[in-house]
């Protein structure tokens, strides 16, 4: 009986999403690939959960900071060697 009641509750109203599960949905959420209904559950949870909101912010910060590594330039000596190789190719 209990199982049946739980089943009905699950399909009638969105069941609460535990924090432990939300952190596993974070990438799908940020990638925009969650189905609308799941996305709504995540939004609903975030609206009332400081811990998960902070987690999401940290994830966004992590992505932004990781992006800073990409500001690196190609080493000057390698760039020069490539340009020399290009000149050689052009003539060859």
């Amino acid at each position: 009986m209990n199982a049946l009641r739980r089943f009905w509750r699950r399909i009638r109203s969105p069941s609460p999403l535990p924090c432990r599960d939300l952190v596993e949905y974070i990438t799908d959420y940020l990638e925009g690939t969650l189905p609308a209904e799941e996305r709504a559950r995540v939004d609903q949870h975030l609206a009332g959960c400081d811990g998960c909101t902070t987690y999401l912010e940290q994830m966004r910060e992590t992505i932004a900071l990781t992006g800073r590594l990409g500001a690196e330039q190609i080493p000057a000596h390698l760039r020069q060697e490539l340009l020399t190789a290009f000149q050689g190719w052009k003539q060859g």
């Binding site: 959960c49 940290q58 994830m59 590594l69 990409g70």
Partner: protein, 208 residues
């Protein structure tokens, strides 16, 4: 699937004509990412630089065969990946490609230590990083922590986060070059990002 843009076709034409400025601009745009990616497969920076050089020579030699069925970027990076992997295999560093990108070959790992939850809810929630001074957050030390965390990832996770978050590629570009499904890409990205976040959290918390 991204195919060559009109800009790609024009660029290839300029390269064929020997336009050095066009070549230099292309090297500046992709060179650092190529080197970073190659280093994931081979034993040293010196070898990775050789792989990058070989790749550009192969690109120049192959310009006449470029048909625009993929974007120029995808084409260049596929050549790079093939060269880096075969070089790595000769060095006995790389594992076979297919097993490399199959997330099911890896054990599932929770994003967050299960001990931090009680009955599914945060028992030990993360602390906001808002209080961390901006110059510390973006300091060389913090970025070095991220770099170390990325280096310690499994190769496939490292590949995906390098292309997505360091080089700023779209998911379809990454899937194309690595030859993996969107789902696999997302699983690998998720695992990579959560580990980098965890490393940052450990670092920022212990010095707070």
């Amino acid at each position: 699937m991204p195919v060559a843009t009109a800009e790609d076709i024009k660029l290839v034409q300029r390269l064929r004509e020997g336009d050095e400025a066009a070549f230099a601009a292309l090297v500046d745009r992709h060179g650092a990412s190529m080197l970073r990616l190659a280093m994931n497969y081979v034993s040293s920076r010196a070898v990775a630089e050789e792989v990058v050089q070989e790749t550009w020579l192969a690109v120049l030699e192959g310009l006449g065969r470029f048909e625009g069925r993929s974007s120029l970027k995808t084409w260049i990076f596929r050549i790079l990946m093939n060269r880096a992997m075969s070089r790595g295999q000769r060095e006995h560093r790389s594992v076979p490609f297919s097993s490399l990108f199959d997330p099911s070959s890896e054990a599932a790992e929770p994003a967050v230590d299960p001990d931090r939850f009680l009955a599914g809810a945060w028992a030990s929630p993360p602390h906001r990083w808002e209080g961390v001074p901006e110059d510390r957050l973006v300091s060389k030390e913090t970025l070095a922590q991220i770099q170390m965390a990325i280096e310690s990832l499994r190769p496939a996770q490292r590949e995906v986060i390098t292309l997505r978050d360091v080089a700023g590629w779209s998911s379809s570009e990454v899937c194309n070059v690595l030859g993996i499904s969107e789902t696999n890409q997302r699983v690998l990205l998720h695992r990579a990002r959560t580990k980098v976040r965890r490393a940052l959290e450990t670092y920022l918390d212990e010095r707070a």
